[in-house]
């Protein structure tokens, strides 16, 4: 698909939906956690890794996908999940640990599953690699067109699984894309300090696949690069390391003071830039942009209301779903 106004408006819409979701979650996260901070407290307990700043990645890549494509994501999954069309109400409820959540309160925010849109995530770093390659293999064996994508961080690209799986993908020429989200940090460790090469996309040559780096954190550029990688995968051209410069504006997780980030490494919010660009290029009027913003806020507020009203799972449900089969 060409980069039509319609498509770009939709990407912007996904970016603001994701931001509205994260902002609402951040607001709720602090309820019950002051003055004494503890992961366990409040209506949204546990660790929370928000996607603020990475919205163009989810919006740009997912806009290029087909229904049959499959995704594995990591501990920071919201922006990808939302852009992929994961049910927002059920996802909100899942973060709050409610019975109406995607996984009935079993998963929480790092473990988002929605088979309706072929979405899964894992909190173990680079653990999405192998499963995504397996999904790519399954699609090939099933003679279906789907491509598998794994979304992971720049930090995850130093994990053994990353390299083993890329070699497999290279050997087998699987329809696979590793979307490396370069936000320059893995917790408090900078990419410079942890990675032997400046760009993970350069590592592609070691695995017989294509590598592309997109430097802009701009949804248009990301969309076009994703289209190239997908076309390659669908035509039997094999895998791609698609590395995207992006941002991590809300810290590693809630509670991260980010004192380790020097002033000159402060990152820019991509969302207002994209909004201004679309207005400048006549794709959106100010009023239309404002309407998209307001609709996202309202949608998330409604999801939050539903989730807060929903019941918690009964304690006995902890024992359900350990195995598939008659009693599951």
């Amino acid at each position: 698909m060409p980069l039509s106004p319609e498509l770009r408006r939709n990407m912007y819409r996904q970016m603001v939906r994701s931001r509205a979701f994260d902002d609402a979650m951040i607001g709720l996260y602090w309820v019950g956690k002051t003055p004494i901070f503890a992961f366990a407290n409040g209506p949204l307990p546990g660790e929370l890794h928000c996607s603020n700043g990475a919205e163009p990645v989810g919006a740009g890549v997912c806009a290029a996908l087909d229904a049959d494509d499959m995704i594995t994501a990591d501990h920071r999954p919201h922006h990808v999940a939302i852009a992929r069309g994961v049910d927002l109400n059920a996802m909100t409820a899942e973060l709050l640990g409610k019975k109406t959540g995607l996984s009935q309160g079993k998963g929480g925010h790092m473990h988002i599953y929605d088979t309706r849109v072929n979405f899964a995530s894992s909190g173990i770093i680079a653990e999405g690699m192998g499963p995504a390659a397996g999904m790519a293999l399954a699609r090939r064996l099933q003679k279906r067109p789907g491509v598998a994508l794994t979304f992971l961080g720049d930090g995850a690209a130093n994990q053994g699984a990353f390299h083993e799986v890329l070699n497999l993908v290279g050997v087998m020429k699987l329809p696979f894309i590793a979307v490396v989200q370069d936000n320059e940090w893995g917790v408090s460790t900078s990419k410079k300090e942890s990675t032997a090469v400046a760009r993970n996309s350069d590592r592609a040559s070691a695995y017989g696949m294509a590598g592309e780096y997109v430097d802009s954190n701009d949804a248009d550029d990301i969309y076009l690069a994703a289209e190239r990688a997908l076309a390659r995968a669908r035509s039997g051209g094999g895998g791609t390391i698609l590395e995207l410069r992006t941002a991590r504006l809300a810290g590693h997780f809630m509670g991260d003071q980010q004192a380790y980030i020097p002033e000159q490494m402060k990152q820019i919010d991509p969302n207002p830039l994209y909004r201004a660009k679309l207005i400048r290029e006549g794709v959106l009027s100010e009023a239309e942009a404002a309407a998209i913003d307001a609709a996202a806020t309202a949608e998330v507020a409604e999801a939050m209301r539903l989730a807060q009203e929903a019941p918690y799972p009964d304690p006995s449900e902890a024992f359900d779903h350990v195995f598939a089969g008659a009693d599951a």
């Binding site: 503890a38 992961f39 173990i124 130093n158 350990v322």
Partner: protein, 335 residues
């Protein structure tokens, strides 16, 4: 001089003392330079010892823990921070086949003195991949020492012991016991008077954390504190509960366990690790293999059931081996 410390500060003091005096000790792990590791055990060490001895690693656990084993074989003593035990899946081979077995396979030619610090446990809604205990999964490997302090005094003494041990030692700390900012107010029973001078706490010795005569409650890590809470409750009902802290899983103090259980004739083993194939069965075996007649009642286990840890508070709190469950079981047994 002594003062009240958290486990995290106490462990840090021992590591600092040893590092000041022994050049072969160095620290490595994710975010150790800026954050001092998950519990701040190396807090401030980056500035004090510099990047050569406080190595911030990439997220490459197989690589850097294997590297630590090699450095140990070559005469160093690495101290590794692996954050959460849920991540051992990524680097398990180094533990399972290298760090644990090299001394044996080389008939003592090659030593692997290294200390692997790992946080365990849940109870704070971090779901199935960030809440596990898995201590049995490492204690099962021959050739590994596994210690599990549950209070600040032991945290310091066992850290000194680990750093002076010529073997591979896994030093576990339950996240809820460490006394770190992100887990809220430190649990009172984890705090202790800690002497400023160095001292060691030997491995393979249980601690009687509370004296009692009617029933023996045995725990490790966080479950010691649940046992202590249960013992307080039971005291109100006139039941005198003895509380045992295992402290060390490998070696396991089977004599100490037997003697403690013999004293009361009743035992409940509590463990936040999964019920089956774990520490709780091993502890009971230590008693009944020797003399089942010391027991006046069948032993009871209060453990996390064999299910992944659910996220939602309503479900997670229900499956953890908390004090109320322990006290209920004790009342039934003593009646």
């Amino acid at each position: 001089m002594s003062r009240i410390l958290t486990m995290a500060r106490a462990g840090r003091e021992a590591l600092d003392w040893e590092m000041e005096r022994r050049d072969e000790i160095f620290v490595l792990g994710e975010d150790v330079y800026n954050f001092g590791g998950i519990f701040g055990t190396a807090d401030g060490f980056g500035a004090k010892y510099g990047p050569e001895r406080v190595i911030n690693t990439p997220i490459s656990e197989t690589g850097f823990i294997g590297m630590a084993a090699g450095a140990a074989m070559a005469g160093m003593h690495p101290v590794i921070d692996l954050a959460y035990i849920d991540f051992i899946g990524v680097c398990y081979n180094v533990l399972l086949n290298t760090a644990s077995k090299t001394h044996y396979m080389s008939a003592g030619q090659v030593k692997v003195p290294m200390t692997l610090m790992i946080g365990t446990g849940g109870g704070y809604n971090n779901a199935a991949q960030h809440s596990q205990c898995l201590h049995a999964t490492v204690a099962h490997i021959p050739g590994v020492k596994v210690v599990y302090p549950s209070n600040a005094y032991d945290a310091k003494g066992m850290m000194h012991s680990a750093l002076r041990d010529p073997n591979f030692v896994i030093y576990l700390t339950h996240k809820g016991t460490a006394g770190v900012g992100w887990m809220g107010t430190p649990l009172k029973t984890t705090l202790s008077e800690v002497p400023e001078e160095p001292y060691t706490v030997p491995f393979g010795k249980i601690a009687i954390t509370r004296e009692g005569s009617d029933i023996t409650l045995i725990g490790l890590g966080m479950s010691v504190h649940e046992c202590l809470k249960a013992a307080d409750e039971l005291a109100k009902d006139g039941i005198s509960a003895q509380v045992v802290d295992l402290r060390s899983l490998a070696p396991l103090d089977r004599d100490g366990i037997f003697a403690a259980v013999k004293k009361t004739g009743r035992m409940i083993v509590t463990d936040e690790d999964y019920l089956s194939y774990g520490v709780s069965g091993e502890v009971i075996a230590s008693v009944v293999e020797r003399d089942p007649t010391v027991l006046r009642a069948a032993p009871v286990r209060i453990c996390t059931p064999d299910i992944p840890i659910p996220f939602a508070r309503s479900m997670e709190q229900a499956i953890l081996p908390l004090a109320a469950k322990i006290a209920d079981a004790a009342r039934k047994m003593v009646k």
